[in-house]
């Protein structure tokens, strides 16, 4: 039932609104609303019960193994949530004076420093509100750089074909054309094709490494040289940073600019769609262009004093990208996480996420599933293809995904990257135990048996969820995006 359908005319959660009402005589009648908006009319307990029960219809990290490749669904420490939800932080107005904001600013400053440390970048701005906005900031800085040098011919961004959709979409939002670079059958960028593609029109290259193919781009140094030699800059999509934390730094690989998805690598909760945070880091050349606001630190009488850095400090900045300073609460959680892990813990993230992925990959392979890149190491994730199952048994990667829900596991990412047919991108993360991984393989083996012996069963899945398989085609064809009372009659 929808919350609207639980309503009764006149019902209210009385304790929640001011009890006195006041006339609005000073507001012109023409600007006053005539008809009340159609909001639910429900009691407080009904609301609590409705949304509590809705929540119970979700899979989540707190309830299920959730090996969604590229999304890094790892444990979100409860302590981080608690830390960010303190009254002093929640009540701080974004424009509050710096003199009553030193606590908050200190956390942000420290986070900037940690992110510089793990990435090998020279400067970090925390303001972008998700990975995609971080990408935007990064590519906008590349553009600002070329423009500052009056290098106006650079109109193209190169992107490997396996890239995440936000990469090309971002390049276009920054006014660039996109040229795709093919990936070879070991998952590496085709370096010859890249060599052919670069030129005076090249503004830069966007790359994810480990790539979306779940492998480490071995030619990264060569790629960097080629692009740099052509006058382009290198953008690092940090969505997969979890895999290499403490092991290799984008700055050392030769990247000029990057974003980090704190809601992945730094374990902030993804909230069923957000919020995230996508800080950008840059090397020397792009420092002048970082988006504001950032946090600076002065010493006053031997004591640290934090303050906002603005256009006055960074006159060439690409400017502000959000109303205030981005997803502050997410940044506080990431600061907490980084503080608990520290340098030893951050190093282990890369190690154990990689260990888990390679273990799972080996077990899955031993169980007879086909790897997309059998000759490669897994990074923190890996790809299998269910192409054979689709062709021979007519049981698709989607069918497998729906069926594994019945076994109590969230499905891996399906059909991404697009270049591997019928694929699953599997990312266990470092916070899952070996027992959990073993259970997952067992479920896969059982589904394989079902696909062989009773394919209808798998094609009809799921059976254990609040709804059976949903009709996506109908959703798009008979568009119903808003509840209206007439629709119910």
């Amino acid at each position: 039932m929808l919350i609207f359908e639980r309503g009764q005319a006149g019902r209210r959660a009385v304790a929640q609104a001011p009890s006195t009402t006041d006339d609005l005589h000073d507001i012109p009648a023409a600007l006053q609303r005539k008809q009340k908006p159609l909001l639910p009319e429900v009691g407080e307990m009904q609301v609590v019960r409705h949304y509590t029960n809705l929540s119970r219809k979700n899979f989540s990290i707190d309830t299920h193994f959730y090996p969604l490749g590229s999304c890094t669904m790892k444990y979100n420490p409860r302590g981080a949530h608690r830390a960010a939800m303190q009254a002093g932080f929640l009540g701080r107005h974004p424009l509050a004076h710096e003199s009553i904001s030193q606590g908050f600013l200190a956390c942000l400053y420290e986070l900037q420093e940690v992110l510089k440390g793990v990435t090998g970048m020279k400067g970090v701005s925390l303001t972008p509100m998700a990975g995609a906005q971080g990408e935007f900031a990064g590519v906008a800085m590349i553009r600002a750089y070329h423009e500052a040098r009056k290098d106006h011919e650079r109109k193209e961004i190169l992107i490997p074909s396996a890239a995440h959709g936000t990469n090309p979409a971002t390049a276009v939002m920054c006014g660039y054309k996109v040229r795709e670079i093919p990936v070879n059958d070991e998952g590496d960028v085709d370096v010859d094709a890249l060599r052919d593609a670069v030129g005076p029109q090249t503004a830069g290259l966007m790359m994810t490494n480990p790539s979306t193919c779940g492998v480490f781009e071995r030619s990264v140094r060569e790629i960097a040289e080629i692009v740099h030699a052509a006058g382009g800059l290198l953008y690092y999509d940090g969505a997969n940073l979890n895999a290499i934390l403490g092991k290799v730094r984008p700055g050392d690989m030769g990247f000029d600019v990057m974003h980090m998805n704190l809601h992945k690598t730094f374990a902030t909760p993804h909230g069923g769609g957000g919020p995230g945070a996508g800080p950008v880091g840059v090397g020397e050349r792009l420092l002048p262009y970082l988006p504001i606001p950032m946090v600076g630190k002065d010493e006053i009488e031997g004591k640290p004093r934090y303050r906002w850095l603005t256009e006055a400090d960074i006159p060439q900045t690409i400017g502000r990208l959000s109303t205030f300073m981005g997803n502050a609460g997410v940044l506080l959680r990431a600061h907490y996480y980084a503080s608990v892990l520290g340098r030893e813990g951050l190093l282990r993230v890369g190690e154990f996420s990689t260990l888990n992925a390679n273990y799972l990959m080996k077990k899955v392979q031993d169980a007879g599933f086909q790897l997309a890149y059998p000759k490669r190491r897994a990074t923190h994730e890996f790809i299998i293809t269910l192409n054979k199952q689709a062709k021979e048994l007519h049981v698709s990667a989607m069918d497998f995904a729906k069926r594994i829900l019945d076994y109590g596991y969230h499905a891996p990412t399906t059909y991404f990257p697009l270049l591997i047919p019928e694929c699953w991108l599997i990312e266990p993360t470092e916070t899952e135990s070996r027992d959990e991984l073993d259970g997952f393989v067992k479920a896969m083996v059982q589904i394989q048996a079902e696909a062989e012996n009773n394919p209808e069963l798998v094609r009809g899945a799921p059976y254990s969820q609040p709804v059976r398989r949903l009709d996506d085609v109908r959703a798009a064809r008979e568009l119903d995006l808003v509840w209206r009372p007439t629709a119910e009659q």
Partner: protein
């Protein structure tokens, strides 16, 4: 190590299974010369207890401030139920609902959010959220340029009394696509648009006109006339609104003859804490005709195999993961949790409750400006109807006053000098339903002393 459950025994078995001697061997594809050195700049890890104490002291240092600041972020009462429910692991630690059947909770919440926002704005449809108000304005400008078939231009007219932070963010985001934001000045005595300046643009090719209600100054434009003006000049009408205000003010869908075409705003007032500026939740609504130009995620209602109602991601062909370089936006992760908070908040408040909140805010702001205006030299800046926020003229530099008030742990408002020339003495103030008479008296006393 924190949050990693592996025992030594686990590691041994796993390495044996993989067939390598050490974890380090798993990184052998990474060229040796770029392998990282120990991260010595980063401090050692600490326990939950230690970090909690550290950040607890920091939160306390920033706390206990009494707020008369609005300017786009408002301190409203948030029912305890809202964040108790949001904080449930099932909502908080889920990803984007890619597997619809295992995410009906999140999906239904979004469908409800879309419905609530559509009803509140009196528009046809809403998306599942954008980042915040400022970036939502950017998306609205881009959308308007795509959607306005009658315009060839990449130019958008924006009244100068629209939140300057929104305008900045929008300009920085859309600028790279050669979209130009053209500001229409306001009249200093009313705080509203300078009609003559606007009329100068009549007949020119602009994709849209952007109008805020209330304006950044709290003043109320004649949105009906402006909407009709935009449509008469073949522009789309983009409304920037405060959702709390819509409980009592005419919704954009009913502005002028035909209503606004696109509506954006900041959903923070709906159950989202001030929290230093985020996570907030941008919203965007539009007319049915242009839904395929809407950026971001959209949830649709459908049925399952057995005909049972369910919800799923829809119109994905607009989005980056399908359409890539031709997507309506690059947005992927949005503001799901704050969106859910807004949904629960609106359900708890209802139309009547939200109207009471709006009325109480307005009444408190009236009390506040009346109280502060008693102080010699302090006066109200604009001779216009306003809602919930207003500009005061002080006998002194407002930024200095704000700094002095902060010493007394009063967030006294926003000094406007930074944004508008000749406004060094102007202070934007706001009192929500959270402020009581004692708070206002305390502000008055502090200000009196500072100005004395």
């Amino acid at each position: 190590m924190p949050y990693v459950p592996h025992t030594d025994e686990d590691v041994r078995i796993m390495l044996d299974t993989i067939g390598v001697a050490s974890i380090d061997a798993l990184f052998d594809e990474i060229p040796a010369e770029i392998r990282a050195k120990p991260l010595l700049e980063i401090p050692s890890g600490r326990t939950e207890m230690d970090v909690t104490r550290l950040v607890g002291e920091r939160a306390a240092a920033d706390g206990n401030v009494i707020n008369f600041l609005g300017a786009g972020a408002y301190e409203h009462h948030i029912p305890a139920a809202v964040w108790d429910i949001i904080s449930r692991g099932e909502f908080m630690t889920a990803y984007t609902p890619y597997q619809a059947e295992a995410s009906q909770g999140t999906l239904q919440v979004i469908y409800e959010f879309q419905s609530l926002m559509a009803h509140l704005t009196a528009m046809d449809v809403s998306n599942a959220s954008l980042y915040d108000g400022g970036s939502a304005l950017a998306e609205a400008a881009l959308m308007a340029v795509r959607a306005n078939r009658k315009s060839q231009s990449g130019r958008v007219l924006v009244l100068e009394n629209v939140n300057p932070f929104y305008c900045d963010a929008a300009r920085n985001i859309v600028g790279n696509q050669h979209i130009e934001i053209v500001k229409v000045p306001f009249d200093a005595t009313t705080g509203n648009v300078d009609q003559a300046a606007l009329d100068a643009y009549a007949g020119q090719d602009f994709a849209a006109l952007v109008v805020a209600m209330p304006s950044f100054f709290g003043t109320l434009e004649d949105v009906h006339a402006l909407t009709d003006w935009a449509h008469a000049n073949r522009m789309l009408m983009v409304a920037v609104v405060n959702p709390t205000a819509l409980a009592v003010l005419t919704p954009p869908g009913e502005w002028g003859q035909k209503g606004a075409d696109i509506v954006v705003g900041e959903g923070q007032p709906l159950g989202v804490p001030l929290s230093s500026g985020g996570p907030y939740v941008g919203f965007i609504c539009c007319r049915n005709e242009i839904v395929r130009q809407l950026p971001g995620r959209i949830i649709g209602r459908t049925v399952d195999l057995e005909g049972k109602r369910g919800f799923t991601l829809t119109l994905q062909a607009r989005e980056q993961h399908i359409r890539r370089s031709k997507a309506t936006s690059n947005i992927c992760t949005n503001q799901g949790l704050a969106m859910a908070a807004a949904t629960i908040y609106l359900s708890l408040l209802g139309a009547e409750g939200l109207a009471r909140v709006a009325q109480a805010c307005h009444a408190n702001t009236r009390k506040l400006i009346a109280s502060l205006s008693e102080i010699p030299g302090v006066s109200v800046a604009h001779q216009s109807a306003f809602f919930h926020e207003a500009v005061l003229r002080l006998p002194k530099n407002a930024a200095e006053v704000v700094a002095a008030l902060a010493e007394q742990r009063i967030a006294g408002g926003l000094a406007l000098g930074e944004f508008f020339p000749d406004h060094e003495n102007a202070l934007l103030v706001c009192a929500t339903e959270m402020r009581n008479d004692a708070d206002i008296a305390r502000y008055q006393a502090a200000l009196r002393q500072i100005l004395a």
